[in-house]
Subunit: 182 residues, 2 copies
DNA sequence: TTGCTTACTTACTAATAAGTAAATACATTT
DNA sequence: AAATGTATTTACTTATTAGTAAGTAAGCAA
């Protein structure tokens, strides 16, 4: 894949996750890369194409990460999952779901579909992880694994959002509560 | 207060909570109210002024609601708090914090400050509510009331966001988990 | 009745947005 | 050498944005 193309994707992801889909323009991409507006359109004809590609990238990265964790113990896998959010927090980014979901109704339909798909993949991996941990007795929680997965995703997603508004402490506090809750 | 002014505020709140701050324009307000663009600027000279007024409105409504709940038992007050989110969900709205926090860095500074203030007020009311319920033995959770308040706000906020993307069920599921967790 | 305030409208401006058509430069293939 | 494909720029269009300056109609106040 072209170097320019991946630089666009990388910058685009950063912009979505720090400003949101409607608060960045192709100019915000072309300027720092020292290329012209039309060069961005060459790789991603419409902004929706770019948005879809960024979500696809994130899905692919999640698949790859979780696949590489397969040999590890269940509790380690869970810890690595929460570390994804820790890494986002330290960059001042929110997660893609947190960035895009509030404006879901305004997103181009292909982006809506990809985002839904991303949510399914994350929830189903996490549900399986929690289920396995419960069976292995390394996790202990009363709810179903599916309900627990939803609460965990929700807590971590929000912790990144609230962290921006309310300050540093809140992310760590919520992450700690999530860790203790399984 | 002028009827037009409050109609603008109401519509503006709906637009922010269904589309986000950067995905609506003064035209989206003036058109359904059958007034001109400049009439909106008459009441709210800049978009930031409108944004600030909407957050102030929400803070005032929260203060009024919680004040009116004062005579009620603690667990009833908590239930009414979660019902705020239920009502949002049934309208397809997210909460103001969920709508604005992802684009926090791009918001005008006065809006950032008001949003921070709103978060403080909600968290401190909820912390006090949980603290009291613990002392009265109607709630039972191991964490500090402050940590619990953060987790509860986080879970409810995200449940509205995830609900839009993942579908109806997830809000109810998370709300139920929150209810059981106190 | 004159002046002032309230609540707008008319008619703009300047900036920015996404997107496109056509030209160009360079490398590779035929 | 000619043709082709890839990656880009130039130069533009069309639409929308927030915001403003000037005017107006109605009501109230001195």
């Amino acid at each position: 894949m072209s170097e320019t193309r991946s630089a666009i994707l990388e910058l685009g992801e950063m912009l979505i996750r720090t400003r949101g889909y409607h608060a960045f323009s192709y100019h915000d991409i072309s300027r720092p890369l020292a290329i012209k507006n039309a060069a961005v359109h060459y790789y991603f004809p419409t902004k929706a194409d770019l948005g879809v590609a960024i979500i696809e990238n994130t899905i692919a990265a999640f698949r790859q990460a979780t696949a590489s964790w397969q040999p590890l113990p269940t509790e380690k896998q869970f810890e690595l999952y929460t570390r994804i959010y820790q890494d986002s927090q330290s960059k001042g980014w929110v997660c893609l779901m947190g960035a895009l979901s509030p404006a879901y109704d305004t997103l181009p339909q292909p982006m809506q579909e990809k985002l839904h798909r991303m949510g399914q993949e994350i929830l189903s991996w996490l549900t399986a992880c929690l289920e396995r941990g419960k069976a292995e007795q390394v996790f202990n929680f009363p709810e179903s694994a599916q309900a627990k997965a939803q609460v965990v995703v929700a807590a971590l997603l929000s912790s990144l959002l609230l962290n921006k508004v309310m300050g540093e402490g809140i992310f760590q506090s919520i992450r700690e509560a999530v860790r203790k809750g399984v």
